[in-house]
Each structure stands twice: as C-alpha cells, then as structure tokens.
Amino acid sequence: MENKKTKILIIDDNEIIRMMFSNIFWLHGLDDTYELNTVARADEALKQIDDPSSRPDIIFMGLVMPFEKGGKVTPSVEAGFTIIKHIKESSDLSRIRIIVLSGYQDAEFQQKALDMGVEHYLKKSESMPQNILELIRSLHQS
C-alpha cells in the first residue's frame, strides 16, 4: 500500500527562505516522504489551506508578510496572525501543525503565536539548515 505523502506548505515572502526549504527537502531526500509547496503571500496560502485537495498537514510560515488593508498592501504581522487564526478557529483545519519562522524576535508576538496554538516559534536568524532538517524529522516521528 502506498503511503500518502505528508503535505508541507511554506509561507514566506522571502524568496531565499522558500528556496532554502525546497533545497533542503530536495537535497536531503525528503521529497520521498513529503510533498512540499511554497507560497509568497497570505492569500495564496489561504487558498491552498481551504482546498481539501491541497490542504497541508504542516505549515512553516513567516509572520510579517505583505498584507492588504483598506486597499493598501504593506508588510504586517497581521498577515501571519490572520492565517493562524483562520486555521486554529476552524474545526476542519485546526489539526494542521504550524511552525512560525520569524525574522522578528518580539516576545509579545512569540507568546501570542504560541497561545494561538502554534507548535514552535523559531527565529530565522538562528535557524540553520540542519536545525530545520532536525525539526522536520522530529515532527515526522511525533
């Protein structure tokens, strides 16, 4: 019987971060176990999350991303929190595991994210490829 691949979604407006993830999956041979998708914007992410055929099992995401408010698009932490809220408040979606990979080290954001049900809150500037690899492997085991 063929096992279904675990779906992982990367949400980050930084192209290098997206590439780093896809490279880690590709180079370390995780492609056999996981199906990786990357998106740059919150609205694209929500589309994938809401569609049962593309719905991820695990999400790695930034917090501060372009966010539309009053017809204006500006980088805002609201982008991230909107996604987290959307997921954790829906019975269909709340099982999705979320890991935040943030460039912002604000303790308040961190606490808020964890309170909302985020599993890990990592700092981008401290996350080496090997840390990400280890985390992915540990998520798979748990």
């Binding site: 590439m19 780093m20 490279n23 180079l27 041979g29 492609d31 401290e126 080496m128 090997q130 690899l133």
Partner: protein, 433 residues
Amino acid sequence: MSTPLVKLENVNYYYNRGKPSEVHALKNINIEIPRGGYAAFFGPSGCGKTTLTYLIGGIETENTDSGNILINGRDLRGLEKKELAVYRQIGVGIIFQQFNLLPSLTVLDNVALPMAFLGIDVERRKKEALKLLDRFGMTKYSARFPSDLSGGQQQRVSIARALSNNPPLIIADEPLGNLDSENANKALEFLKELNEKDGRTIIMVTHESWSLRDARLVIYLKDGEVIRTDEPKNKIDAKKSLSEHFYKQLYPESPPENLMAQSLSSMLARGLSGQEIKRFELFLAERLKGNITSEHFIDFLDQPFKDGGLGLWKQRAIKISETVDELAHNRKKVEDVYHELERNPEVPLYEEISKMRDWLLSSYSGTLDEIGRVRFDEAVEDRIRNVISSEHFCRVLELPRKDFGVGLSMSAIRGISERLESALTGKKYQVLH
C-alpha cells in the same frame, strides 16, 4: 531503487568552444553516485576530474554543453541562477586543494561566512563555527588568520567551512596535494568520518592511488572520458585495482631509444656541454638500439671530441657503458613487469621489484632495514604502475621514517629516481642483446 544523489547523463563540456583553442574537456560522461557513497575520481592531471567536480558543485554548471547533471533526480542545468546559488551554499561543501580561505578574515569568520548567506545572525554564526572548529581540533586557532596556520591546519579549517551549512555532499579536490603524509592521513580520516559518521556523500578527486583506500566507488578518468568504474570490496582492492590503462599511458608517444637516451644523458653525462650532450645522446641511442657494440660505444666515449668522440677518460667511458648495459638489463625487467601486468593488472609485483631494488639502490651507500625496504618497494611499485608521479616518488623516499617515508638523502634519491625513470622511459624500446 533509490535515486542516486549524483547522476550524470551524457555530459559534454568544452573549454573555448568554437575557438581555435577549443578543448573537449568532458566527453559523454555517465556516472552514478549513491546517497551516502564515497566516490573517487581518479586520473592524471588534465583528465577532466576537477572540471567534473565543478559541474557537480554547481560552479561551471551553466556552461555545460550537453547532458544532464542530476542531483537527487533534479537537473542542475534547469535551475535558475538564484536556485543554483542556494544549491552551492547548502547542497555541496567543497574542500579546495589550495584551501581558498580568505586571508583577511580570521579562522572563525572564514568558517562562519557561508552561514551569513542564509541570513543567520552573527552570534549564531560564531557559535556554529566554533562547534565545527572544535570538531577538527582547531578551536584555539579561531582568532588567528589563515597565514598563521600550517597547511594541515588550513585544511582542517577548510573542511570545517565546507560543513558550515550542513551539505549532504562533500567534494574534496586533491585534498592531499599540499600536505605531508601525516596530515594527508588525517585528512583521509576526516573524510571517512564525514562519510561513515555523518552519512554524507563524498567525492574525492585524486591522482594518488594510496588515497583511494576508503573509496567504495572509483571512477577512472582519462582525457575527459570515464575509462573504467570499480567498486572495490575492501581497502586492498581499492589500492590494487589500478587499471592497465594507467601504466599504458606512461609516456604514450615514446619514441623509445631517443627519449631514453635523452633522459639517460642527464644522468650519465653530467658536466658536459650542450654540444657534447647532443653527440652523447646520438651514440647512446645507437647503442640502445643495438646498432653498435659496447666496445664501439666505449671507443666513442673515449675518443677526443675533435675526432668525433666525447673525450672522456677511459675509466669513465667503461663505467658509463656498464651503466647503460645494466640499465638495459633492468629495462628488460621493467618490460617483464609490464607484460605480467598486461596479463593480470592485479598481479603483485613484489618479486620483480625486489629484483630491481639492488640496482636502483646501487648509488646509495647505506642499507635499508626491513621497513625501509617495504616502503621503498611500495613506492617503486606505485611508480611503475604510474599511480604516483616521479616527484611524488622522490617525496616518499625523502620523507622521514616517522612520516612513513624511507628517509633517504636527496643525493641518493636523485640517483635512484634517475635510474628508475630511465628504465620507465619509452618502454616500447626493444632491449638490446
């Protein structure tokens, strides 16, 4: 079957394509290296092995003329520039022969630098770099600059740097080239550890057979082509499984007698003028072809220059003639060795070499003990199989005993090397008598 980490399909690479200086550097390369494998690209300089690693390392990839360079099933040639840059940062760590450390940065900053590309902050970078330096016993040098370090130490820094973004693939380009034997051995131990303990895939580029000891896949290259692939089952195999292709390519053009006469004349006719040497070579070649007898040859050496001779003392003339005869005799032994190798490339050569040993050592006034003899014979064997260069042969003889050398003096080595090289030169030569 799982996807190989590295797979090259029909790869062709040219330097200066379309120009008069065009070189077809890689010809239809097809290779596969499994994830977690330890492969060696083995061959003489100019065979294309370094170019090949550059393609796999994402350095020259864009200039590849045709074929696919698949890393875990994905073709590097299909990647955008940015993606390729990320691949170079986290996909592959290269240990360069010249180490390529930045002279203006401390050891610590050299190791930490690749992490900066990923946006890792400076504190974290230093912490990770220290961990890596510690692994290779280099912590205490972290604040030094590369120029303060020995070759072996620089290389350890270079290995640490290659690991900084945790790449699954490590390429070591002639990692032993600039090291003494003790450090070279250490370098091989490190590579083995990265392979066995970390599970990283290793590609080592080398022209030295002894460095193949841990490789589980040996890819032989010559003139830009893969001429053979071996999967040695154990260490001894790895060292011994040297293809006949290699000793066959010793001096491939070999216009035998003349070439040999040239190399002999430098040994026998030291102190002669250019004109004298030319004349000497001419007669020597005639002697080697068997066109003149040893008596004629001695006469020639003995006669005054104005009468067409060389004007040497009779005693020296006789001595030279004897040396030439001896050499021819030992050439015959070299020929026998080659014939034996042609029948069976794996054949051990101990006996043949021990027969040559006394002759090679005849200008050496000391004696070799058991260990010295074994090492000496090994070096001769490696040289005959053309797995080491004549320079490297001399280095092995010169290295102190404690460094696994033979510990001979430079003057003794010169005589030995000249004899051996003369015997190897132009081996198609028909032995006189």
